[in-house]
Symmetry: D2
Subunit: 356 residues, 4 copies
């Protein structure tokens, strides 16, 4: 990265960017409160750092040590400050700010009526963002693939219900894009675009979604180490989109015999990731445990671990949900969760502000 002096001029910055391009790399210009830092997209070994250090307006020029460069604290500390975090803003909501944010809604949108009723319940319970799956990632081609997997007209109709439900109940909206052809239309309707765990490695999708310049909810794959997770978040950041909300949703269970939970929620990853990156991290206790009866505890635990928010599946009648019926909670249960989590967040937040 190239760290500019605090009084570097626009021309000096432009000159650095130009020379970076001449080396065959792309420049990531990050303007901070105090100075501008220029990150590099591409093979850093092609950059003559000694030469760059001598350019006018340049304070320092050097490699970033970690493989995830543009999302690392090593990079952000020069333009954001040492312990500062990114706050992702969507409508009037701040993810990664002072309050925990709750994303709630059905696993799959099934009908307008179902969605509106759940949205109303979620809002009353205290949620901030409405989730609703329209393009569903499923293990079996024989299962319901979401309303968006039929004609594009059906997809658009379901997306419109999501938008309408969001507006009516003053909730921001998020929906998953599963394939590249769904990106454009989803971006027209939803406030946040989600990339599911199974698509974490889908770099073409990541790049296409990033370019929409909307906040991206990016889920960790169940077999991905932290380094790999952040290295793929880097594909989004490389398109100059840093509005990335990272989400821990459970790892492959290890250990023989019957699994008592669908996945193993890796809660220590939450504070560990927050020490590596300035991006906010949330948790998904619904997918993480796959068990409705564990969601209260795992929600509280996620917030206690330092999560900036939660994503929870809600249904007024969980048993009749078409997808993942066994892991949704009712709006009443959601309220109980949000209340407890807000109190726990207050207890752990002071520690967090010490730079934890």
């Amino acid at each position: 990265m190239i760290i500019m002096k605090s009084d570097a001029t626009k021309e000096q910055i432009a000159q650095v960017v130009k020379q970076i391009k001449q080396c065959g790399l792309r420049a990531d210009v990050s303007k901070g409160k105090f100075r501008t830092v220029i990150g590099l997209v591409g093979d850093e070994t092609k950059i003559p750092f000694a030469h760059f250090a001598t350019l006018p307006g340049v304070k320092e020029a050097r490699m970033v040590e970690v493989p995830y460069k543009l999302v690392s604290r090593e990079y952000s500390k020069f333009f954001k400050g040492e312990n500062e975090r990114m706050v992702v803003k969507v409508r009037n909501i701040e993810i990664g700010g002072d309050e925990p944010i709750f994303i709630a809604g059905p696993c799959a949108v099934e009908s307008k009526k179902q969605l509106l009723r759940i949205a109303e319940g979620a809002k009353k319970a205290g949620a901030h963002i409405l989730r609703g799956g329209i393009f569903k990632a499923r293990s079996s081609v024989h299962s319901f693939q979401g309303l968006g997997s039929g004609s594009s007209k059906e997809a658009e109709q379901a997306l419109d219900w999501l938008r309408e439900a969001g507006e009516r109940f003053e909730l921001a909206t998020v929906t998953e894009v599963r394939g590249e052809t769904q990106v454009d239309i989803a971006a027209e309707y939803a406030d946040i675009l989600q990339i599911g765990a199974r698509n974490m490695y889908n770099q073409d999708l990541l790049t296409k979604v990033a370019k929409k310049n909307k906040p991206v909810l990016f889920k960790r794959h169940f077999g991905a180490g932290i380094e790999e997770f952040l290295s793929f978040a880097e594909y989004i950041a490389a398109e100059r989109n840093k509005n990335i909300i990272l989400c821990e949703r459970g790892m492959l269970p290890v250990g023989k015999g019957k699994s008592f939970t669908r996945y193993t929620l890796d809660l220590a990853a939450i504070p560990a990731i927050q020490k590596e990156t300035y991006l906010p991290v949330i948790a998904d206790p619904s997918h993480g445990s796959g068990r409705r009866d564990l969601i209260f505890n795992m929600s509280c635990a996620s917030i206690a671990a330092g999560a900036s928010g939660l994503m929870i599946e809600v249904h007024y009648n969980p048993e009749e949900a078409l997808v993942d019926a066994q892991q949704a909670v009712t709006p009443d249960e959601l309220k109980e969760i949000i209340d407890a989590c807000q109190k726990i967040h207050k207890l752990v937040a002071p520690k967090r502000n010490e730079g934890n």
Copy 2:
């Protein structure tokens, strides 16, 4: 299991036990508030349940479905009640009771002075039980194996320091027994005997420890599923020792690349285990994360997940600890952790008492 009528006589119970033995099995007589239930140790298929159901005083006779029988709720509900948990009592401390219990102390006992100083700090911070490793399980034969791995005189001396520190600061004590030859002597000095994660599968050690009739702190192996963990706890219960404190201490990390934590603390296992068994479950965030800077968050998260207590490594100067220096906290940090955890425990406890 054989469920006796609430008015079954001693003689009737004795008759059932006698016939169980004649079938080649052992009987586990559990007297509850309302009735006596008799568990079976051995191959249940050898028991003619239809015949047993007709014996005087017998209400019901049937197999237990889960492989961990004597520690299952399916068994305990008949003598303890549906949502009742086991409370393990040691001195005046109740593990699994209304208050969270904190076990603290050095990873390894290094000297009398070190131990006393840490014990004093732990007590002031609010801990209830003093831990101190004397027989250390180590990955390398070239590493310090604990003071107990020299002569038996040295082992006894270190155990005596532990006893003395416990008495002086009114802390119960726990120490790990690593091999069968250490069981007798450790049982003379410590209040609780610990079986480490690496010995979870060591059934000869489990049986020998169980027979001491002292509370056993039983750690889950980092590669053991819940079913397997409980099936090995069953080796202890089969010796009529149900004073078992289960401890989650982290699973093998899954995911390629550098691990950011030593293990993956499986916090969802805590409520999941509590639905299967009546035994109390605690967590060890020190070994679970292996990182001092994550212990505050992971302690809070463990309690939020429903743990009945925590085991935390403490050192007045973590950097100079001979073993696991990077994962101990100071007494001041311990106090901060205990304070936050007690508040969180209050927030999640009401939910817990609903039978969650």
Copy 3:
């Protein structure tokens, strides 16, 4: 599935297909030597099997028990016979036939010269199919993404080199498609389309590739169980494309500490998968081990385990390969591998033909 009588007429088959569509499912008509079987794509519970069993020409109508239906032996045994396997044909090559098939070539195509030189070496060593990565799936956005990740003109040029190299040395060709936008063009040039391990879960890509009606080389994700692997192969089969070559390429390593291999090649999966499905299975010892010095042994082991072929990275000078330099072998080493593997294949084949 609906099993037709051996003398069922076209009209009777058409009638069954029509009624399946009326139930909202798709029909997969499989004509075998002896009879036609009609598989179902969608929710089988919507099919009134009792009614279908009474339709003219129908012998039997029932659910398929396993979640992967169209690729299961339970399905194929009715039209292929009990122990019969699928043979995927491409040019004059039979994958899954009597001889093991060797796919060889560079990890990434770097230049026409590099590709032709490697193709020539691979052919001389005895390879049948030329591999060459043009759209590379990479962990880091900062790494070389393959010649196809620049302009579409560059992609087409590299694909044309692949085609030319294949023709010149009489090798069939295979290349990976990483994103949906690359499917059309890749299908124009390559004989086989590869879906990489990281895209195993990318159902939109699977569907799009399947529709090209070309053989698909489908790699198992490093965190996918066998059931999940076959359930995603089902996405391809559901588009009426059964020309699927399954490929085992290594699982996430389990076990703390430094990994001595990049992945854990799951060789027992090869015979295990072959008992579940009629599709051929090959192995990739290059990615599976990530170590050039282990490839000879792991190639022999894969064939001994029952693999129908191997995919091996070859470079005339492995050290200078732009991607995965540490896991390629030279053409001479390839020849040694192919020779040993052909002998081992002969030793294990008779056992295989017994229906193993």
Copy 4:
């Protein structure tokens, strides 16, 4: 380690050993064809290597880089030569020599008659060593724990049958010791003492077994990385017992859903371990796959991977075995396996002798 000059005298060696002890470490004197090398047991940082390098007869004094020191090639190359392997000799059998060695027998000894009949079949099939479990490591306290788990008289009787069967059919014998109290008696009867996978971490057992100075068959734990496996083998070597036969027997399966094999046999570990250590490595395809129908292929694959031998469960009527009935083969099947494996061993051996 301290590498002595080729003409170092006994007195010079004794002097080095003496000074090592004065530093608080133990010395491991390894006499080779060309020179003597002295390994260190304990904390190497306490050794002033610069001083040791100046002692008479000393050629070189330095740390061993890998954590497993006494079993490493880095150590052995000075007394054994670069690519030389250890050959473990028992009776007239050489494990790690020119021929693959086959260990066969029942999972559990059930009766004298059963054992003799299986031993006879194993011998006829070509096996060299008879296995027979007397102290069984079991997941459930309710399962059959082996004949040795009753009275010590019963244990001794079963051990005597094993000895007798071995003598009658000219087979060496191996049996597992599960707990410390079984070591003495097992060592009286069996030629080789086995430490099971679940006891890999049981350092007290390892030390006790090592001291018997009999060959040790040491199985890798299903959650242990290679580094950890070798670090625990080091506990045996530290007692001056290098007659260690390492055994790969399968890792924890990774991947959601039904496991199609009990464990994942990590065959790449075989050549990878052989590059780290001079100890011979064998494989156990019975436990590794847990499926009788996969044992032929996995046996061939293990030998192709470079294994020096196999351990296979045999029963004349697998269905009626009391333990692990689903994973035993018949003597006829064993013969077929041994025949194929011997041919494959010949094919891969030349490569191996090149230092592979």
